[in-house]
Amino acid sequence: MSGRVLVVDDSGIARTMIKKALADGGFEVAAEAQDGLEAVDLAGRVKPDVITMDYSMPNLDGEEALKRILAVDPAARVVMLTSLAEPMLREDLLKLGAKAVLAKPFKDEDLVKAVRAAI
């Protein structure tokens, strides 16, 4: 295995797709979260190598979760996934400290490449 990943997405089918892609890419899925609040909690407890974080989620969105995770652990590596991936959002998320921003829908190999590059 080449790294432990926390998968964060409110959609079950999206998590399934991400987990399959990561497993095929040789990664271990350490845990999964369904919203930003759960992600912040699990990031502290699981200490993954990389977090894949959906942007649009109920309760706490991915942008706010990214800020909270990096406030606690500035070395955390977060790859953001969003269907709203326009240049302004990409720039804002990268400025906040995301390692990469991937547009949904994405190819499995692009996800694996982004996670690998983040480690």
Partner: protein, 211 residues
């Protein structure tokens, strides 16, 4: 409360498809407006009186487009904005981004452009996610300031499809200067495409009950 005949897994799959499609649509709107836009988590609901009232609101502008995926029967996309919100989005469009048609840029011409952009990118996002082909009948786009003849639209679709469902979500800019509704009206054909896709992704789940 869930008012659809779908299982939680089917609703989840449909919501993710809606999220990708409407997210792609709103991302392109952001680029037109050069400001960040957001969406609410999409909702799935029957085409009930509440939705019909929204689509026929006398104080609203509506852009209507037809979309056909994988040679199935056409579905309809509506962009719904109150006249006030439509004027607000017109004011938000950078002056060099749109050329006025006939020299006059109106809320209706802007809404027509918004409809073209959002429907096109919604369709593209869906095609990429679901790995299906299709076509978008943009010439069918109409913008109406009167209650939309919804029943005419429904009658033009196949009658044997049974109950229709609506996927809908609000889109807005971060400054909240405007807010609109994106409504995608679907029938059984489209649901079947989604369930086949879910089956492919999840290895059986989701496709057992044909709608």
């Amino acid at each position: 409360m869930d008012r659809t005949p779908l299982t939680p897994e089917q609703l989840g799959g449909l919501t993710e498809v809606a999220n990708v499609g409407i997210g792609n649509a709103t991302a392109n709107l952001s680029q037109l407006l050069r400001r960040r836009c957001q969406i609410e988590v999409p909702k799935i609901a029957p085409l009930d009186d509440e939705l019909r009232a929204m689509l026929a609101a006398p104080d609203a502008y509506l852009a209507h487009m037809q979309i056909r995926i994988a040679e199935q029967s056409p579905a309809s996309i509506f962009i719904v904005m109150s006249k006030t919100e439509a004027h607000n989005i017109m004011a938000a469009v950078p002056k060099d981004a749109l050329k006025a048609e006939g020299g006059l840029l109106t809320a209706q011409t802007v809404l027509r452009k918004v409809g073209e952009i959002m429907a096109g990118s919604f369709f593209e996002g869906l095609s990429q996610l679901l790995l299906v082909k299709g076509n978008l009948s943009l010439p069918a786009i109409t913008v109406s300031s009167a209650p939309v003849p919804l029943e005419t639209v429904l009658a033009s679709m196949r009658k044997e499809e049974g109950e229709r469902l609506a996927i809908h979500s609000a889109f807005y800019d971060r400054e909240k200067t405007f807010k609109g509704k994106f409504v995608y009206l679907i029938g059984r054909d489209f649901l079947w495409i989604i369930f086949k896709w879910m089956n492919m992704v999840a290895g059986g789940a989701g496709a057992e009950a044909r709608p």
